[in-house]
Symmetry: C2
Subunit: 340 residues, 2 copies
Amino acid sequence: MPSKKRVTVMRDVAKLAGVSHQTVSRVLNEHPNVKQETRTRVLEAMQSLNYRRNLAARTLVTRQSHTLGLIGFETTLFGPASMLYGIEDAARAAGYLVSIATVRNLERREVLEAVDRLSQHAVDGIIAIAPKPAVTNGLLQAPGGLYCVAVGGAGETDAVPTVRVDNAAGARLATQHLLGLGHRTVHHVGGPHDWPEAQERVMGWRDTLYEAGAVVPPVAFDSWTAEWGYRRGQELARDPEVTAVFCANDRIALGVLRALHEAGRPVPHEVSVVGFDDMPDSGYFLPPLTTVRQDFAELGRRSLTLLLQHMADTDEPEAPAHIVVTPELVVRGSTAPPPR
Amino acid sequence: MPSKKRVTVMRDVAKLAGVSHQTVSRVLNEHPNVKQETRTRVLEAMQSLNYRRNLAARTLVTRQSHTLGLIGFETTLFGPASMLYGIEDAARAAGYLVSIATVRNLERREVLEAVDRLSQHAVDGIIAIAPKPAVTNGLLQAPGGLYCVAVGGAGETDAVPTVRVDNAAGARLATQHLLGLGHRTVHHVGGPHDWPEAQERVMGWRDTLYEAGAVVPPVAFDSWTAEWGYRRGQELARDPEVTAVFCANDRIALGVLRALHEAGRPVPHEVSVVGFDDMPDSGYFLPPLTTVRQDFAELGRRSLTLLLQHMADTDEPEAPAHIVVTPELVVRGSTAPPPR
DNA sequence: ATCCAAATTGTGAACGCTAACAACAGCTAG
DNA sequence: CTAGCTGTTGTTAGCGTTCACAATTTGGAT
C-alpha cells in the first residue's frame, strides 16, 4: 500500500532537461565546460524535480565522503563542547559534515575502536580531542590515507599535527600576576596527575616561582572537579600562610572559593584565587574569577584548518605542523594584594 | 611514485577463502545459512587481509547509512552537550554513527538547511534538540522516509514524536518547596521570553502560587545567562519583601546569588534561591544551590530509543509518541525558612 | 535407490554517481 | 577548403555492495 516512492535521480533530471546524465553531473560539480544555457536548463530541472544528489554513490566512486570524524572525550564539559562547536562551524563552511565518536575513557583500545568506526564510515580525516598521549598514539594506527590532527592536548608527540594551548605560558601569566600583586608565593591546586595539560600548568607555575626566588609549596593532584577544589581548599584555608592560590581550572577554583568562604577567609582580601579556562559564568562567581582564558572555539577552528591543509598537501608529506595558541589573563575580582 | 594502494575488498576475501563474494557478504551480515566451516574460513581471510567493508557501497544499495543526524543549538551549553553525549552513547550501542549539524540561531530556514544537509548525507533518522517551535516545524519538512524526533523542547507540536521534561512540574516542585518552608510568596526570574521551556516554568510557578493563594509577583524575561540573573538580582535585592527567588535556570541563579551577596542579603538566611537544571557544579555555588534536576543524558538516550522504535515501525505510522520525563528537586543549602 | 525439501553456494544485475574517452560542433589559420 | 584546435556533449565502464534468483549439495523419508 505505501507506494514505493522513487526518489529523483540524475537520470530523471537529465531526461527533463534533455541532456545526458553526465552533463547533469558536470553542472553539479561546477565543471567549467558547460554552456550557460544548458546549465540553467539543468538547474531548473533539478529545482522542479527537487533533486538531491546521492552522496553515497558519489563517495563510492570518488572515495571522498566529505565527512570528517571527531574523536571526543567527556564532551559534556565546556572545553570539549566548545571545540566541537568551533570544529563543526568551520567544517560546514568548508563543505564537510562532522561525525562524532566519543570515548568513555582514554584508553588506547577505545581510541582504536573509534578510529576504526570512523574509517569504516569513510571519513576523509579525523580530529581528535586528545588530552592524553594514548589518543595521539591511537591516531597513528589510523589506516593510510586518513589524515589526523590532535587538538587540545600537551605537545609531546611529533608524529601527528597538533593544535594546543600553551599551558605553561598560561600558568606563568597567572603566577606572575599574583606575584606582581605582592604575594610572597603562590599555591597551586593541580588537576588529574596523569594529564599532560595539568602537568604543564604545574611546570609553568613552578618555573615562575623559581625564577622569582619564591618558595615552591607542595602540589596535590586529583581531578578537574569543583568537589576536589573544595576538599583541597579546606586544607589550604587552614594554613594562614596561604594568600594566593592558582587553580588548574575554573571548576576547581569554584570549589576553592567555597571552601575559603566557609572558612571565613574572604577572597580577595585575605586570599587571592586564579583559575584557568574562563568558562562562561566564571565572571559571576563570588567574587568574579580572575582566570586564564583559552579560546576553545578558536582552537577547534584552527585544528580544522590544519586538517584541511594537511589533506590538501597530497604529495608532500612534510613534517607535521604544530600550532600553539597563547592564552590570555582575564583579571576580575578574585585577586588583590595580600593583607597588610 | 606513491603506489596506488589498493584497499582489500570483498572479492579479495572471497578469492582467498575460495568462495564467492556473495558468501562473504552473507558472513558479514550474519546470514543464517552459511556452513560453520566456510564461515570461519571467510572470517580468517578477512582477518588476514584486514578487510573493512565499504559502507558507502552498502549504503548505496540498501539505502541505509547507519548514521543518525543530530540538529543541535548552542551545543556548548551543558544541557545540549549532555544530550548529545547521551544520544551518541546510545547510538553507538545500536550500531549507529552520529553526525551533527548545528544551527546558529533557531530560524526555520537554518533548520531546513540542516535537515537538507543531513538528508543528503543519507542519515537514517534525525534527532533535533528543539527548544523552539521553529525547529519542530522545520522537521516536518524532512523528506519522506526520514524519521525525526524532537527532544528537549516544550510539548506543543503533535506531528513529531518528542521527548521532553515536564518543566511545569519542575517549577511546581521548586515553588512548593519554597512555600513549604514558610515563604509568603516566591519571585521568579524568567529565561528568554520566546522559549516555550521558559514559559512552561513560569506557568508551573504561577499555578502553584495561585493554588496556594499567594500573591503572584511580576516576572521579567531576558536570557539564560548569569549576567541577566545578576542584573535582575540587583533589582530584587532592593525589595525587602523578596525572601524567595525561583530562577529559570542555574546560570541565572548564579547571577542572582552574586547580586544578593553584594547587596548584603545573605542566602539562605534572608533570601532563598532555587535554580533549574542542576549543572555539574551547582552544588559548589555559594551557597550550594537547591535546584531542579533534569537528567539530560537520559533525555538523549530516551530520544534515541524513540527514534529507533519509530524507524522500526515501518508499516504502522501510528500517532507519534510523546515521552515526558519528570524532573526532581535537589535540596541543598540555598533555601531556608524566611527570616523571623 | 529415489525423490523432495531444506540448506548452502554462486551468478548476474542493480544502486547512482564520476572518470575516461569518444564524438561532434564551431572556429581560426593556413 | 581543410587541418587542427577548443569547447561542449554523449557513451561506456566501473566504484563495492546487496538483492533476487538460479544452481548445487545435503539429508532424510519413502
